[in-house]
């Protein structure tokens, strides 16, 4: 049952006064304290104009380098000091280097138990023949996941900066350079039609063999991205959109990142709680080996390829 209070009673309540005070309509203590409203100082239009003009002139003259000699002197001194600072930095660093352990010496402090264990146990622990890939994806998995997130956030940030709305494209023509698309350059297209498959194949090879030979998800993904960029440069965006548009991009990227994240989360949680990791390590030397290395390489590779292409597309025309 609701109770309706009439307006006059309500006006006497504290809540009414409080809300009026909150919205600035009335002062709570208006009876208690005298408050005089301040008047605006009287100014004619001319004087305002003059004041603004003076202000502008002062600003312009203070920061005008050709006229203001003190500013010029200050900037020169500043520059000189900065160069001095940089030289001092280099000198300090070189002195530091002269005290550091010798290059190439096997007895250096950095060749300690950690790196020895990586080499001795790396293959057994991670199943990856390439110790570096095995290390960054298993021993230092958290770093690498963070690094993939750096790529992801950089794409988002570039999108904030360069993404153009579909309806705004017509308004400012310089933001998209569709006019600058290649005009059926025969040499480029012939070369691209030969090169692009090779680049793709090589990239896929590098990704799939990441745990066996040099390379891995990042380099292979960058190669595939470069192949996509070459394709776009030769054939234009319209042809590329047939197989790689924004939808495909989002699906591939989100799937890759989510799968990667799930693998990593599973790996972290089982590892920390002392549970065994159920991913088999496989036989060293085979493609289907390396435990979590191979799937992670594939996901990282597709994410990096998408990112590289996204950078290029965003730079070229402000959209995917």
């Amino acid at each position: 049952m609701s109770r309706i209070r009439d307006q006059k009673k309500y006006e006497k309540t504290f809540a009414f006064h409080f809300f009026r005070w909150l919205s600035g309509e009335k002062d709570m203590y208006v009876g208690n304290m005298e408050m005089k409203p301040q008047r605006e100082p009287e100014e004619t239009e001319e004087s305002i104009e003059e004041r603004m003009k003076d202000h502008q002139q002062v600003l312009a003259e203070v920061y005008d380098q050709t006229k203001n000699k003190e500013l010029l002197l200050f900037e020169k001194a500043y520059k000189f000091l900065s160069i001095l600072f940089c030289l001092a930095l280099v000198a300090i660093l070189i002195v530091t280097v002269s005290y550091l352990p010798r290059v190439g010496n096997a007895a250096n402090p950095d060749n300690n138990i950690v790196s020895e264990t990586y080499i001795k146990e790396g293959l057994r622990d991670t199943g990856a023949v390439n110790i570096v890939t095995g290390m960054i994806l298993s021993y230092r998995a958290f770093d690498t996941f963070g690094e993939t997130n750096v790529l992801f956030i950089a794409t988002c940030c570039v999108m904030i900066l360069l993404m153009v709305d579909e309806d705004k494209i017509k308004e400012n023509a310089d933001s998209n350079d569709r006019d600058f698309e290649p005009k059926n350059d025969v040499i480029l297209q012939k070369a691209a039609s030969i090169l692009v498959p090779i680049v793709f194949l090589f990239g896929i090879y590098v990704i799939l063999n990441g745990h066996l030979s040099p390379g891995g998800g990042f380099s292979g993904g960058a190669m595939i991205g470069a192949g996509l960029i070459l394709y776009v440069a030769a054939f234009g965006f319209n042809k590329t959109e047939k197989f790689f548009n924004e939808k495909v991009y989002t699906v591939v990227k989100v799937t890759a990142l989510v799968c990667y994240g799930c693998i990593v989360a599973y790996y972290f949680l089982t590892g920390a709680n002392g549970l065994p990791c159920l991913v088999p390590l496989g036989e060293p030397g085979k493609i289907l080996s390396g435990g979590i290395t191979l799937p992670i390489n594939i996901f990282v590779g597709s994410e990096v390829a998408c990112t590289m292409y996204a950078f290029y597309a965003l730079f070229r025309r402000g959209g995917l």
Binding site: D174, P214, G215, S219, F311, R316
Partner: protein, 96 residues
Amino acid sequence: MNIFNMILLGFLVVCAISVSFSKNLLNSILIYMSYSLVMSLIWILLESPDLAITEAAVGAGVTSVLFFVTLKKIRAMQDDGDREESHEQDQGPEEV
């Protein structure tokens, strides 16, 4: 091999300095590209093929392409701004 390594390192320093003093932006980007390639060679000499392959793909490849695209865009905006002033402004560089 030691001498070769030293020559490459010297080349790196020369590249880095000439980038700083080059007047033309396109030139400095090209110099930077060669700097990256030489860097990946050095990494092969230092027995780190993983780094070399990544630097060749990322540093010399994609980063340079991004630089070129940026330059091209800026030139395009420049041309838009003063198309009537000069027509012989150089074309945007070719990618790859």
